[in-house]
């Protein structure tokens, strides 16, 4: 870079018009390349995103036949959308073949031990409980903190985790407790040795559920209808 600065002062400058011409030609070439790349990848990317989300959704709410995506509006209303693009938070409602609501998958994120932990969990309005959980992305300590995505005992917590709606938020805050001391249905049995990470999961889910569960309950009719 220093060389370019020196070149500016040292050598006989080319004419400005020529420079502008060259720059515009190069920019045009670049523009064409970019636009070509963008348009040709747009579809595969959307498909990839959809596949990933669908996979996650079908894992947290198994047995679904069809699903509808709702975008949450700033006012608290929800609106069905197609595709997973856009920046509004979303609810993924999953229905069985008969159109009966099986559960609502929700994305949540928060800081874990090392970095951001993003998860997806499912809420069942019928059972008033969290019925599924999947770790989407985390950089927790391998072999220790990353057990929150793999440890079967830990994952079993989310087969049925009470999340009773109350006004406002939940009746009992969801909370991670030390391994083997779970006493209440709304408590998460932590992983021994990975206390910080498993606590983080509890905190992330609690924070999200405190907001989302009442919101789902409020819009339950619309969500139930969603399939049709």
């Amino acid at each position: 870079m220093t060389a370019s600065v020196q070149a500016l002062t040292a050598e006989k400058p080319s004419s400005s018009l020529y420079i502008i011409g060259v720059l515009s030609i190069v920019s045009t070439i670049c523009g064409i390349i970019i636009v070509f790349a963008y348009t040709s990848t747009a579809l595969p990317i959307a498909r990839n995103l959809a596949i990933i989300t669908n996979e996650a959704v079908s894992q947290v709410v198994p047995g679904g036949q069809q699903n509808t995506i709702f975008a949450i509006q700033p006012g608290g209303e929800i609106k069905p959308v197609t595709g997973v693009g856009g920046s509004d938070p979303k609810l993924f409602a999953v229905y069985d073949g008969a159109g009966k609501l099986l559960g609502v998958a929700i994305e949540a994120a928060g800081s874990g031990y090392a970095d951001l932990v993003s998860v997806m969990y499912a809420y069942s309005p019928e059972r008033q409980a969290i019925i599924g959980f999947k770790l989407i992305d985390a950089k927790e300590t391998p072999g220790l903190g990353d057990k929150i995505g793999t440890d079967p005992n830990f994952l079993a917590n989310f087969n049925e985790l009470e999340a009773k709606p109350a006004n406002p938020g939940l009746a009992h805050p969801i909370q991670t407790v030390k391994h083997a001391t779970k006493a209440n249905p709304w408590e998460i049995d932590g992983i021994s040795g990975a206390t910080v990470s498993s606590n983080a999961v509890g905190r992330i889910i609690n924070e999200s559920a405190q907001k989302m569960v009442p919101l789902i309950e409020r819009n339950l009719d619309q969500i139930r209808k969603g399939a049709s």
Binding site: P13, I52, P142
Partner: protein, 235 residues
């Protein structure tokens, strides 16, 4: 002062001459003798950031080779028409273009790989290797040679990344490309997956290279005293 031996990761001072060595040498130079990572110590950030698994290292390598080859080619194509004053701007524009292409391409291929590489795909733009090759080679050489140079340097970069990635993955997870190597009871050395492990592994390879060079110099000195001294003089 003692600062003399500290290098500055700027473009190499002596680019190959236009009517330089044969094409095969242009290609092989980058692989080993002028390996951009281990010898010239360029592109250090992705070398450490994206090598905690061989898969990521491979993905990064492919991305960099693509950008390097394409930008070298395009820079070489426009080198006659590009005035000196704006050449850096043009280089950056060209590189950024291909990086954008790669950014979308990787996303189109696999989202998990895209997530694993985080901001480092975009940061290929400022990977010193690419700008250095554009400035030192492609701007002075023909298209064919520039493409060869791009491949050479790109493969050199890939070799470095794979060296890093395989050590880190094998020790850090006990796997290679995701396949377990040592059975279920193997105790992984987690540190190699962590940032500090990146530093240590890189330093380890630099030590190996320095040791190897020092031994070679010593041997050369033993057989040809004058030549050996000349080679040993820097550093």
């Amino acid at each position: 002062m003692s600062t003399a031996h500290q290098h500055q990761p700027s473009p190499p001072a002596s680019p190959p001459e236009a009517a330089g060595p044969p094409a095969s040498e242009t290609f092989l130079n980058g692989l080993w003798k002028e390996n951009p990572v281990f010898v010239q110590v360029l592109g250090t950030c992705p070398t450490m950031a994206i090598t905690n698994s061989v898969r990521n290292a491979l993905a990064m390598s492919v991305a960099v080779i693509f950008v390097l080859v394409c930008s070298n080619a395009l820079v070489s194509l426009v080198r006659k028409t590009t005035p000196k004053e704006v050449r850096i701007a043009v280089f950056i524009l060209i590189i950024a273009t291909f990086v954008t292409v790669v950014d979308y391409a990787v996303k189109a291929v696999s989202i998990p790989i895209y997530q694993a590489m985080g901001p480092f795909i975009a940061l290929i733009v400022v990977n010193c290797i690419i700008l250095a090759r554009a400035e030192a080679f492609a701007y002075k050489n023909g298209v064919f040679r520039s493409i060869l140079d791009g491949f050479g340097m790109g493969f050199g970069f890939s070799i470095a990344l794979l060296f890093m990635g395989s050590i880190r993955e094998i020790l850090g997870a006990g796997t290679l490309l995701g396949y377990p190597l040592f059975g279920a009871n193997y105790q992984p050395w987690v540190i190699f997956l962590l940032p500090s492990g990146g530093f240590f592994t890189f330093a380890f390879w630099l030590l190996i290279f320095a040791w190897w060079r020092e031994r070679k110099d010593k041997r050369a000195k033993a057989t040809r005293p004058e030549a050996g001294q000349l080679e040993a003089a820097p550093q």
